[in-house]
């Protein structure tokens, strides 16, 4: 097991370094291979993490909760790396410098996101997430356009300011821990959790709110989500998929770690109420913005805000069923949103515009990506038989279990309205015939279809029959989140 942790921590970085030197063809191959291998490595971690905690070298610590988020990141890393091969080939910027920067950035970005859930202490967790910010800001700026420059600036400034608050949260949780663990301890997560009941309340409350606000900036929780639609719409599509499917989830993972400590110190009521406020605000605001969007990638970005709101609401319910639903939702959202962005990327490449009013006839010109894009949107809207249907069902059922009837009702209404907003725009894009001369029927690249097919299969698997190992893993992670065992 220790070897797997080390490999996960070194392989993507090695790939990034290799991309500095090797020719462009090899860079593609190395990156795609590293992505797929990383996912396989994470899969190999599942059985061990489902039954216990794997620690190594003092600073690595992987439990069931980390592995859920590693799965989401690993899956998207593999899918996006393969997809990017086709994306770069089909693009108008085949020049070597662009693609070299792209591959280096992509691998470092994935590396930081894989490293974050493996960190055993809250300080290093913050460092890893800050690294994801700076790398992804450069990736957003890589498209040399006015929009990209604007989006990258807003992103790096807002996310860094948010993370400064998260660093403040780290400082205060350290202060809280110092009361019990002495002046010099290394902010280890297990230590803090074990010391939980004896931590001073005021400091933990302050740290938790700061953490939700700070890491929530990167998760895209309303009202600190404002960078998100810009960055998602202006970044290259593979980067958008990673931002939305894994980066937001990894930041949410950081919130969950603080949630665990807060539950251990304060009991569950206070942290749940904080998450509830942010969750409901995100769901409702995103629902409104999903209607009348003009840019297809902004549309998907607001859908991400909606789904992060669902995650926060699910945790605030606190019932075991809802928590299991939240974890399944993380995986389902990664696959579905990745698919949606990758499908949108094919449409944009083929038809040369991001404007919803300008893209028409997706089904006519794209024999594979058109239907796959519709499936991805249905999956995002939690239609059966896809994974997100099962997860949202579990979350709502958990809400009813914990007698939060009003919030559960808001959730159902919000999710339905969001689906209508999403489906309305997408139907027009894919179904309406293209006026004027249509490009020749055919896919830009097979590389851009295969990962999407795999994503649909994963969504079906999650929705119809989640593997037994995964269910055990969720069960274990739920007991961790629940605070019943530590």
């Amino acid at each position: 097991m220790h070897v797997i942790l080390l490999l996960l921590l070194t392989l993507p970085l090695a790939a990034a370094i290799a991309c500095l030197r090797v020719p462009a063809n090899a860079a593609r191959l190395v990156s795609a291979l590293t992505g797929v291998v990383s996912f396989a490595l994470v899969l190999a971690l599942v059985p061990a993490a489902a039954h216990g905690t794997v620690s190594y070298l003092r600073f690595l610590r992987v439990d069931a909760l980390s592995v859920v988020f590693l799965l989401a990141t690993g899956f998207l890393y593999g899918a996006v790396a393969v997809y990017s091969v086709g994306y770069l080939k089909a693009g108008q910027q085949p020049h070597a410098r662009y693609s070299r920067r792209f591959w280096i950035g992509l691998n470092i970005f994935a590396w930081a996101m894989l490293a974050a859930p493996m960190m055993s202490n809250l300080g290093l967790l913050w460092v890893a997430i800050e690294v994801t910010t700076v790398v992804s800001a450069l990736l957003v700026a890589i498209e040399d356009t006015d929009g990209a420059a604007e989006a990258a600036w807003k992103y790096v400034l807002l996310a860094s300011a948010g993370l400064a608050l998260a660093l403040l949260a780290t400082v205060f949780i350290y202060y809280a821990g110092a009361h019990v663990l002495g002046q010099s301890y290394d902010l280890g997560f297990s230590q803090l959790l074990a010391a939980g009941p004896r931590l001073p309340h005021a400091a933990v409350e302050l740290a938790f709110v700061l953490a939700v606000l700070g890491f929530g900036t990167k998760t895209g929780l309303v009202p600190v989500h404002t960078w998100l639609p810009d960055a998602h719409s202006e970044a290259p599509t593979p980067v958008s998929a990673l931002l939305s499917g894994s980066l937001l989830a990894v930041s949410f993972y950081a919130i969950l770690r603080y949630y665990q400590v807060a539950v251990a110190a304060l009991g569950s009521r206070y942290p749940r109420n904080v998450l509830l406020v942010f969750g409901v605000a995100s769901l409702l605001l995103a629902m409104v913005y999903l209607f009348g969007q003009r840019d297809i990638k902004r549309l998907l970005a607001y859908s991400s805000v909606e789904h992060m709101g669902i995650l926060a609401i699910g945790v605030s319910f606190g019932a075991p069923g809802a928590l299991a639903g939240v974890l399944l939702h993380v995986l389902g959202h990664a696959a579905a949103k990745g698919n949606a962005f990758m499908g949108a990327g094919v449409l944009v490449r083929k038809l040369g515009s991001k404007r919803i009013t300008a893209i028409r006839g997706g089904l006519d010109v794209l024999p594979w990506s058109g239907p796959l894009f519709i499936l991805a949107i249905f999956a995002l809207g939690a239609m059966p038989p896809f994974g997100l249907f099962r997860s949202e069902f579990e979350i709502v059922a958990g809400g009813l279990d914990s007698r939060s009837y009003a919030v559960a009702a808001i959730l159902v209404v919000g999710v339905t309205a969001a689906f209508l907003g999403l489906a309305g725009s997408v139907t027009r894009v894919v179904m309406l015939p293209l006026a004027g001369s249509a490009p020749a029927r055919g896919e830009p690249s097979g590389w851009m279809v295969v990962p999407v097919v795999v994503g649909v299969l994963a969504l079906l698997l999650l929705g119809l029959h989640p593997p037994a190992e995964l269910t055990t893993l969720f069960g274990r992670a739920v007991t961790l989140l629940d605070g019943r065992t530590s």
Binding site: N121, G123, L124, W126, V127, E130, V131, T133, V134, A137, L138, A141, D146, G147, A149, E150, A151, A152, W153, K154, V156, L157, S160, A161, A164, L167, L168, V171, F172, Y174, Y175, A178, H179, G182, Q183, S184, Y185, D186, L187, P200, A202, A203, L206, P229, D230, S233, E234, Y289, Q293, R294, R298
Partner: protein
């Protein structure tokens, strides 16, 4: 300080030499933050940031000496090397590369990119509020931060409560600075000084933070500063100015 007397009287006994020294330096950091509001020249802003960082290093030395935490000497040295020397140099280099350090004879106004505006006027005109109003807002926000922290009940015998309140005021004022300035350099400096405020808080409430973590934080800051510099160049390359007034195309 005298304003805070009645509020904090319940939590702080008599200010010891340590508390006195820490408080004086913390107030110095806050004053440097206020100074950034009126700086019209980019170079002066970077210098003020360096001065503020130097104060922080001095604070680390004071805390190290009085609380017997030898690791903090190393932190003080590292933090000085990075924040007072390396980061300002990096920012200077990057800004000089695009010719926006005002007053540099090698880059007279108008000699780059066909832009008629010089670096210094770019910044001077970037206030969303007048300097006086901005400072008034900042004072109000600082006072708010100062007194709310005192009311939170974080106190413990080892905690210099006044310095903690001042450090939170620094953080809030840094946010005000980022909000009221409409040019990319001031916003970046605002972020860097925000990080200084967080470092100040860390020194006050979490002096025992392991050195390895502090080093990781500092390294991160360096990377962030480089990325800010790169994006400033990207922005300048496209907009031909430092102003963020035109960054309004993405909305809805």
């Amino acid at each position: 300080m005298s304003l805070a007397g009645p509020v904090l009287a319940t939590t702080v006994a008599a200010p010891s030499a340590l508390a006195g020294g820490v408080n004086v330096i913390a107030v110095g950091v806050l004053l440097a933050e206020f100074g950034m509001f009126r700086q019209a020249m980019l170079r002066d802003q970077v210098r003020l940031y360096a001065a503020q960082s130097a104060l922080l290093s001095a604070l680390a030395v004071v805390v190290a000496a009085t609380r017997h935490l030898p690791e903090l000497y190393a932190l003080a040295g590292l933090s000085f090397a990075l924040k007072v020397v390396v980061v300002p140099i990096v920012l200077h280099r990057m800004l000089r590369g695009i010719g926006v350090i005002g007053g540099d004879p090698r880059w007279p106004a108008g000699s780059y990119s066909g832009s008629a505006r010089s670096g210094s006027t770019d910044i001077a005109g970037s206030h969303a509020l007048g300097v006086a109003s901005a400072v008034l807002v900042a004072i109000a926000v600082a006072a708010f931060g100062f007194f709310t922290v005192a009311a939170l009940g974080l106190a413990s015998p080892v905690l210099p409560a006044t310095a903690l309140s001042v450090s939170v005021a620094v953080i809030l004022v840094a946010f005000v600075l980022m909000i009221v300035r409409r040019d990319v350099v001031s916003q970046a400096i605002g972020f860097l000084s925000l990080e200084n405020g967080v470092s100040l808080t860390a020194l006050v409430v979490a002096a025992g933070l392991p050195l390895i973590l502090e080093i990781a934080f500092l390294f991160d800051l360096l990377v962030a500063a480089v990325v800010f510099g790169l994006l400033i160049r990207v922005h300048h390359g496209r907009a031909e100015s430092m102003s963020t007034a035109d960054l309004t195309s993405l909305r809805g």
